[in-house]
């Protein structure tokens, strides 16, 4: 099978997707100083970045689902947009930092925060190790509303790939994935209704051998949905089995009738008798 790439397959946007949706600063512009890069490639209804830019360099307009475009001549690379982006998808790159190093600023919402001068592992959009980086700045003013912005200095050739840093404290690693034989648990033995402990096999029996055609009819035959939760959990599971067994579209399957009390209520509460404490 051909390996598909792009945001919906990889979980991060390809360079082409970014260029098409948001544009990419020219080398001339990079040479002039820091500039923001939006990596927001899908048409989602969101535009706080537009208002967050003090220089009105970010354009979305109408409809609100337009992808953001950053005017390279207007953007000063101030970084106000980084924490304003609800999707944490705006970065600032400064390729003029030094002869060999460039700066990348990114949102970083994990504790503990790094400190200026820390050597950290710089990671790519895909979370892979790219290179070492040095923390140059950590900004977390009130207006960022708990979205700190970290600036790393990294070798120039890597700056287009670095988009974050490795978290400083990581959970203890586990054993990881390994191939395994299935245990061969029969689906018929899997419980469907937890309250009454009714299995998928019992539900199928009600359908195949006892002529149940609806969620209610299944309930009457095998008690699935008769328990404390009144089918609130299993109703959907039963209707899925029904549609598999009967080959009917799910929209033809009516759920079971909802009856009061919607929440379990004691007889005392119902009768309106105050409990003596």
């Amino acid at each position: 099978m051909e390996k598909k790439s792009g945001i919906i397959y990889d979980g991060y946007p390809s360079r082409e997707e970014i260029v098409t949706a948001n544009g990419w600063p020219s080398e001339e512009r990079f040479a002039k100083g820091p500039i923001a890069i939006a990596e927001c490639v899908q048409e989602i209804p969101c535009n706080p970045c537009e208002a967050a830019c003090p220089f009105h360099a970010i354009k979305i307009g109408t409809p609100i689902t337009n992808t953001p475009r950053i005017e390279e001549d207007t953007c000063t690379g101030c970084g106000s947009c980084i924490a304003a982006c609800s999707g944490l998808a705006i970065f600032v790159v400064d390729k003029t930092y030094s002869k060999t190093e460039a700066l990348i600023s990114f949102p970083f919402e994990y504790l503990p925060l790094p400190e200026k001068g820390d050597e950290v592992e710089a990671l790519s959009r895909g979370g892979e190790y790219v290179c070492q980086g040095t923390v140059v700045r950590v900004m977390n003013p009130k207006r960022n509303d708990h979205t700190p912005v970290v600036t790393l200095a990294v070798p120039k050739e890597h700056v287009d790939h670095v988009r974050t840093m490795k978290r400083l404290v990581l959970p203890k690693p586990g054993k990881g994935f390994e191939p395994v034989e299935p245990q061969g648990v029969l689906d018929d033995d899997v419980i469907v209704c937890r309250c009454e402990e009714i299995t998928a096999g019992e539900v199928r029996d009600a359908i195949r051998n006892k002529k149940a055609t609806t969620v209610t009819e299944v309930k009457r035959r095998c008690r699935a949905g008769m328990g404390l939760c009144q089918g609130r959990t299993c109703g959907k599971l039963v209707s899925r089995i029904l549609s598999e067994e009967l080959g009917s579209a799910p929209d033809t399957l009516v759920g079971s009738t909802d009856r009061p009390p919607v929440r379990p209520t004691t007889f005392g509460e119902l009768a309106g008798i105050k409990k003596e404490v």
Binding site: I44, Y110, G127, P171, K236, P260, R263
Partner: protein, 361 residues
């Protein structure tokens, strides 16, 4: 006891509706079964999408706080820790409160009881340690308890991906996100946050088993094609928690009990109450809003709540037809803008179908 408007559920839709209706002069009673109002708001630590008109860029719980403050300032009557146990003939709402069942006769009822998480059946799904992603989110963000240390997320929609991110932030390890479809469901920007943190996505995969003695110890995942597991592709991973985020469905038991006509709208979560362009159902003076009226998101829920409140205010004579129409127009514009784009379009079209059915009721 009598009230002009009874609003059931004080989440995004209910709070916004209560504020709007009270401002318009309605006598409102807002009921919620939880200890605090706000519904899902207080689980939402991330910044919301949308435009400024939708409070975009603000974290969900901050929006919740703002709405709560406003309900207090304008003096909305709020009953907390009060469960509505049924709606009965004559628009009577039975409420279990302080250990006693009380019945309130309403002129209008607005049902915004939200949604419920869909279950997923697989061997071992009843083991402790398998839970809904929403439940995990409540644990970590509201109760400040980590549901587990090593977590596998089933479902790559916005809920799965946002909850996975918050679990990471809280210090858990999310070992992977499993998605049955051949593509990631969530907004790409949410997925990208997890990818940067090194969390793998397993698209075209499903959960095959949860294993463990008294608690989840291992998860088995496998390739998934055309609704079937591909034998021989099983892999296991050591985890203590499996979160299931395979969609929500509208919670509309109360609407059903009130006799509201329902239909099956898969894009909005399945069986749901049909409503018209004013959020009114097939039963006169019974309204729905928010996830109850089709699963969407908090921003649309708030505006649907306001839309219902404006309609109620007009029908009770608290707003002139002109004032009501103007308000409705503004709200509908905002809703339309939230439902644009490839993600919103399906919901937009589904909502149109709902409203078309609703108009002909």
């Amino acid at each position: 006891m009598k009230r002009e408007v009874v609003i059931i559920g004080a989440g995004p839709a209910g709070l916004a509706a209560a504020i709007e209706a009270t401002k318009n002069g309605c006598e409102v009673l807002l009921i919620d079964e939880n200890r605090t109002a706000g519904g899902q708001f207080f689980k939402q630590l991330h910044k919301f999408f949308g435009s400024q008109a939708h409070s975009a860029g603000i974290r969900g719980f901050e929006i919740g706080k703002q709405l709560l403050k406003e309900t207090e300032e304008i003096g909305v009557e709020v009953w907390l820790e009060s469960s509505v146990i049924g709606i009965f003939a004559g628009k009577r709402v039975a409420v279990l409160r302080h250990g006693i069942t009380e019945t309130i006769e309403a002129q209008s009822i607005l049902i915004c009881t939200g949604g419920a998480e869909n279950p997923l059946r697989f061997p071992g799904w009843t083991l402790p340690g398998v839970m809904g992603a929403g439940a995990a989110q409540t644990m970590v963000n509201v109760n400040r308890v980590l549901p587990g240390k090593r977590i596998l997320m089933i479902g790559s929609g916005n809920v799965g991906v946002i909850v996975a991110y918050q679990l990471l932030q809280a210090g858990a390890d999310v070992v992977g996100i499993v998605e049955g479809m051949p593509r990631i469901g969530a907004y790409g920007v949410h997925a990208a946050k997890l990818k940067r943190a090194g969390v793998p996505f397993f698209i075209g995969h499903t959960i095959a088993e949860a294993r463990g003695k008294d608690h989840v110890e291992e998860a088995v995942i496998a390739h998934f094609e055309n609704g079937k597991i591909l034998k021989g592709t099983e892999q296991k991973i050591d985890v203590d928690t499996i979160c299931v985020a395979v969609g929500l469905r509208p919670l509309s038991e109360l609407a059903q009990m009130a006799g509201v006509k329902h239909d099956f709208i898969p894009e909005l979560g399945g069986f749901m109450p049909i409503h018209n362009e004013n959020m009114e159902t097939s039963v006169k003076d019974v309204y729905v809003a928010g996830d109850t009226a089709g699963v969407e998101e908090a921003s649309t829920a708030m505006d649907e709540g306001r839309l219902a409140a404006v309609s109620v205010s007009y029908s009770l004579g608290h707003l002139s037809s002109q004032a009501a129409e103007q308000k409705k127009e503004e709200i509908r514009d905002r809703l339309a803008s939230l439902r644009q784009g490839p993600f919103g379009e399906r919901r937009m079209n589904a909502k149109k179908r709902v409203v078309d059915m609703g108009v002909n009721l």
